[in-house]
C-alpha cells in the first residue's frame, strides 16, 4: 500500500516539473530570439562606436560651427559665400568639374564593363585586375604620374616634339584638361565596378531571347541592356560625382589657378583660421552630396543595388 502510494506520488511529482519546464522553455525561446536580434547589433557595435567618435562627432561639430557666430546662431558664413562672386564661381566650377568627370567616366566605363560581363571568366579576371591595380595605387602617386606625363618636358610633349606634331611644348599640365584626365583616371574604377556588377547579374538568356525575337544588336542594347543597367549607371554616377565633389590633391597638383575646387578653398580658409567659413563651405558640399543621394534613392531606389 505504502509502496504504491509512493509510486503515485512519484508520478505526480514528475508531472509538475514537465509542465513547468514547458513554460520555461517558451521563455527560453523568447530570450533566445531576443538575443539573436541583439547579437547583430553587437557585431556592428565596434564599427558604430568608431563612426560615432571619429566621423559623426566631428561632422556634427563642423555643422554646428558653420552656424555659430560670435553672438550666437547666424547665417553670415553662408551669406559670405553667396556675396562673393569668386566663391560662388568656385562652387559652380567644382560642380561642373564633377559633372563632366562623371560623364566621361561613364562613357569610358560603360563599354568596358559590358566587355567584362560578356567575356570568359579568365578574361574578365584580367580586365578586373587592370581596373583594380591603379585603384590600389595612392591618389598622390597617380597625380604625380600625370604631372610627369603632361609636363613641359613630359613624355607626351617629348613625343609631340619628336614627331614634329608641334613646334613648341603644349601647355598640358596646370589646365582643366589635365584635371579631367587625372580625375577620370582616378575615379574610373568607381564607375566600372557598379556597372560591371549590374551587367554580370543580367541574365544572358534575355539577350538571347531578344535576339531570337528579332531584335538587332542596336535594339537589344536600347531595349534590354541599357534599361537593365540603369541602377548600375546611377550608382556609378552617384559614387563618382560625390567623390569628385570632394577632390583636393589632384586638382591642386595638375590644375591651374582657375581650377580651384571647393576643397582647395576650404584648405585655404583653414590656413587662415577661418574655421566657421570653412565649416559652412564643407556643410554645403555635404548638403550637395546628400541631395544627390536622395535624388538617386527616390529615382532608382537603393534597394535596386542590393537586389538578390
Amino acid at each position: 500500500m505504502g509502496k504504491s502510494f509512493m509510486s503515485n506520488q512519484a508520478t505526480v511529482g514528475h508531472a509538475i516539473p514537465v509542465v513547468m519546464s514547458r513554460e520555461s522553455q517558451i521563455a527560453r525561446y523568447a530570450r533566445q530570439r531576443r538575443w539573436e536580434e541583439y547579437r547583430y547589433v553587437l557585431y556592428t557595435l565596434p564599427l558604430l562606436i568608431y563612426l560615432l567618435t571619429f566621423y559623426l562627432y566631428p561632422v556634427a561639430t563642423m555643422l554646428v560651427r558653420s552656424f555659430q557666430g560670435p553672438n550666437g546662431l547666424t547665417l553670415e558664413y553662408f551669406a559670405q559665400l553667396f556675396e562673393s562672386p569668386a566663391y560662388s564661381r568656385i562652387f559652380w566650377e567644382t560642380i561642373k568639374l564633377s559633372v563632366v568627370t562623371t560623364v566621361w567616366a561613364l562613357l569610358l566605363a560603360y563599354p568596358l564593363a559590358y566587355c567584362m560581363a560578356q567575356a570568359s571568366p579568365t578574361r574578365t579576371g584580367v580586365m578586373m585586375a587592370l581596373v583594380l591595380v591603379p585603384f590600389w595605387t595612392s591618389v598622390l602617386v597617380r597625380s604625380y604620374a600625370w604631372m610627369v606625363l603632361l609636363g613641359r618636358e613630359g613624355i607626351v610633349n617629348q613625343f609631340l616634339l619628336r614627331f614634329a606634331l608641334t613646334e613648341k611644348p603644349v601647355e598640358l599640365l596646370y589646365s582643366r584638361f589635365a584635371v579631367y584626365l587625372a580625375m577620370v583616371h582616378i575615379l574610373l574604377p568607381f564607375m566600372v565596378l557598379p556597372l560591371y556588377s549590374v551587367m554580370a547579374a543580367m541574365d544572358r538568356n534575355l539577350i538571347r531571347a531578344a535576339d531570337g525575337l528579332g531584335a538587332t544588336p542596336r535594339r537589344i542594347f536600347q531595349h534590354i541592356v541599357l534599361p537593365l543597367s540603369i541602377p548600375g549607371i546611377a550608382a556609378g554616377c552617384l559614387l563618382v560625382f560625390i567623390l569628385a565633389l570632394g577632390f583636393y590633391i589632384t586638382p591642386a597638383l595638375v590644375g591651374g589657378p582657375r581650377d580651384m575646387t571647393v576643397s582647395t578653398l576650404i584648405g585655404q580658409q583653414l590656413e587662415m583660421y577661418e574655421w566657421n567659413f570653412a565649416a559652412a563651405l564643407a556643410a554645403i558640399l555635404l548638403g550637395i552630396a546628400l541631395i544627390s543621394f536622395a535624388v538617386f534613392d527616390k529615382a532608382i531606389g537603393m534597394d535596386k543595388l542590393f537586389k538578390r
Binding site: 534575355l206 531571347a209 531570337g212 525575337l213 531595349h223
Partner: protein
Amino acid sequence: MRNTRSFNGASVRVDNLSKFYGDVAAVADISFEFAASEFVTLLGPSGSGKTTTLMMIAGFEIPTAGEIFINDKPVASEPPRSRNLGMVFQNYALFPHMSVFDNVAFPLKMRNLPADEIKRAVGEALEVVNLVGYDARLPRQLSGGQQQRVAFARAIVFKPPVLLMDEPLGALDKNLRQRLQLEVKRIQRDLGVTVIYVTHDQEEALVMSDRIFLMNRGGVEQSGSPEDLYNRPRTAFVAGFLGETNFLETNVRATRDGMLDLTIGETLVRAPFTEAFPSGAGKLAIRPEKLWISSSAAADANCLPCTVTETIFVGDHLRLVAELPTGEKLAIKQQERFGSDHPEPGSRMMVCWHPQDGRVLSAAPR
C-alpha cells in the same frame, strides 16, 4: 487578315550536325527531319546533347559541322533574329523591366508593326494562353505558371513557323506541369506550329509528342512514336530510360516459328524475333506491369520459379519484388484483380509473362 489559329508550321531538317567543345563532342553527327506541324521531343539525360541541338537550331550555338534547313532553306549561318523562330527558355527569360503587354509585344515591335496591329495581336496571344487582363503586370508579379504562359505568348505572337521549347515546364510543380502539358499540346494542335521540345522528363515526352528522339551521348539513340519507343525499344538504354524495365541476362539459342528461343538460367523461354537480335548473350527486357506472380506455371506463358521477397500495397496495384534462382531481382506491378491472395514475402512462386511482352536487346550498350 490572318487568324492566329491558322499559321503554317515549317519542316526542319538537320544534316550531319556536330558541335565540339574542344575535343568533346556535345552533339556528334546527327541527322533528322521533322515534318511541318509536328510535335517532336528531344528527350535524354543531361549531357545527351539535346539542349545543344536546340540551341544550334535556334542560332545561339554555332555548329562545328553540318547544316540546318528550315523549310529547305539553309539557316546555319544566319543570326537568330533572321531565323524567325519562337523560343521558350527554361527560365522563361521574360524582360523583367517590361510589362506583360510589352514582353509579348516585343517581337512585333522589332518587326515594326503598327501599334493597333500590335495591340490586337498581343490581345489574341494573351487570350490563347488564358492571361487576359494581365497586360500591365510585371513578370515578377506573376506566378511561375503565369510567367510560363507569358513566355509562351511571346514566342507565338509573331506566328513563327517553328517553336523551340527548352524544358519550359521544368521549374513548375507536378500538377501544374501536367495541366500545362495538355494545354501546350492543345495550342500546338490549334495553331499548327512545328514544335521542337526539349525535356529530360520521359513522362512529359510520352504525353506530348508525335515523335520522340531519344538522345544519348550526343547522338540519337532511337526515334519514333511514344508507343514505338515504349513498347519496342531497340537498346537497353531506351528500355531503361522510358519507363521502368527489368533486365534479365539471357542466351539466344535458336529462331523457331518467328520467335526466339532463349535460356534464362536453366529455363527455356520464348521472345518475339527482333531484327537486331544478338546471337548468344543478350538482355531480355520486361516491363514490371507485364509480369505476374502465380502459384503455378501457366500455359502459353514464360514462367520462372522465384521467391517473393517484398510485397507492397500501393492502392491500385501491388508492387512485388521476386528473386530468381540466378540471384536476379524482378520488379513486378500486379493489378489487384489477379487474385486477392497477396503472396507472403518468402513464399516460393512462379513469375510469368507472355512471350510477346519480352524484348531481346543487345547486351553491350551503344
